[in-house]
Symmetry: C2
Subunit: 218 residues, 2 copies
Amino acid sequence: MRYELYYWPSIQGRGEFVRLALEYAEADYADVARTRAGMARMERLMYDGPFAPPFLKAGKLLIAQTANILHYLGPRLGLAPKDEAGRLRLLQHQFTIADWLVEAHDTHHPIGGGLYYEDQKPEAKRRATDFRKSRLPLFLDYFEKVLAREKRFSYVNLSLFQMMEGLDYAFPRTMKAHSHKKLRANQSRVADRLGLYLKKRIPFNQQGIFRHYPELDR
Amino acid sequence: MRYELYYWPSIQGRGEFVRLALEYAEADYADVARTRAGMARMERLMYDGPFAPPFLKAGKLLIAQTANILHYLGPRLGLAPKDEAGRLRLLQHQFTIADWLVEAHDTHHPIGGGLYYEDQKPEAKRRATDFRKSRLPLFLDYFEKVLAREKRFSYVNLSLFQMMEGLDYAFPRTMKAHSHKKLRANQSRVADRLGLYLKKRIPFNQQGIFRHYPELDR
């Protein structure tokens, strides 16, 4: 099966969680919006289609929402078990990662995604402080425990790699103050395995979900 | 199968999306935290367990995250088809509802869930304005189209009922300015069918996800 991924071509964003799974499994796929005339194809599918990218075309299926796409791809790419209980557990983790990701995003856009960062700087500072002090440690501790329980490598490991990479980019000072051994070991393991891809992927940048504003990083 | 639902006993919150499915299907279930010593049982399960309520105990399975629970329950309660394509489509809708719900919540808590509303009132006003003007119409229009496409009644219909009820409670003036025929017809249909339950359920209140602050409603 040749998969077609549709996502904004200039940021890692939510699409990157799907790309990592496809890359790790060495799946046959096209990153459509990054090809010639691909943006026009993406826009055609969005008309009367999914609420937002990313979405995946797999034969006749058109699947949107990151965790939903990974739920579908998981067993097919060898990145999830095939039994229902195992799949539900991973989907639950992925949902919680999605919640965490929204909170990371909202540190720089607490008022509205359609407004500039510059128009919500004081609010962003307050929200980022709350995120760094209350929410981030909660999520890190939680997923450190999840990694201790989950013995089998899955798409959740790839997503946790991406969360750590993004948080290191956005909050380097804050992240240095945390040591979560299993999360860090998982991050290194994935970085080693995906080295070639990581060199050529879209870099983190100031249009993405993770952004580095030093004033938001303590 | 007797299901056990675990959720905070004093608010509708995310748990209500699961309650509605169980009630609609007349399933055999216990709303554990609302029974004697139930809160203690919930807290025991949360220790080393899910990130947050709601979660559902179904035999040996412990399933967290609202959309994940509904994905599991759907086919079992006759509220989702059994085929993969159909289930993925509903899960995708439920995910988008989850995103919408977070945005509705964040209108009154744009800085942090752990802080009081009173400590983030100016920010809440700005965020609520953005929600009412940009985000709410987008979601309403989107789900109006979804209802036109989805012919079969499912747990998504129940969740869209709950979204409309919650938004009517939180933003009565704003909601009166919108007319979305299919969303309103769906709301009436569910209200008729669940009349008895709706009379006895936990009412909307100022501790829940949907809160009515007149200053946030234009």
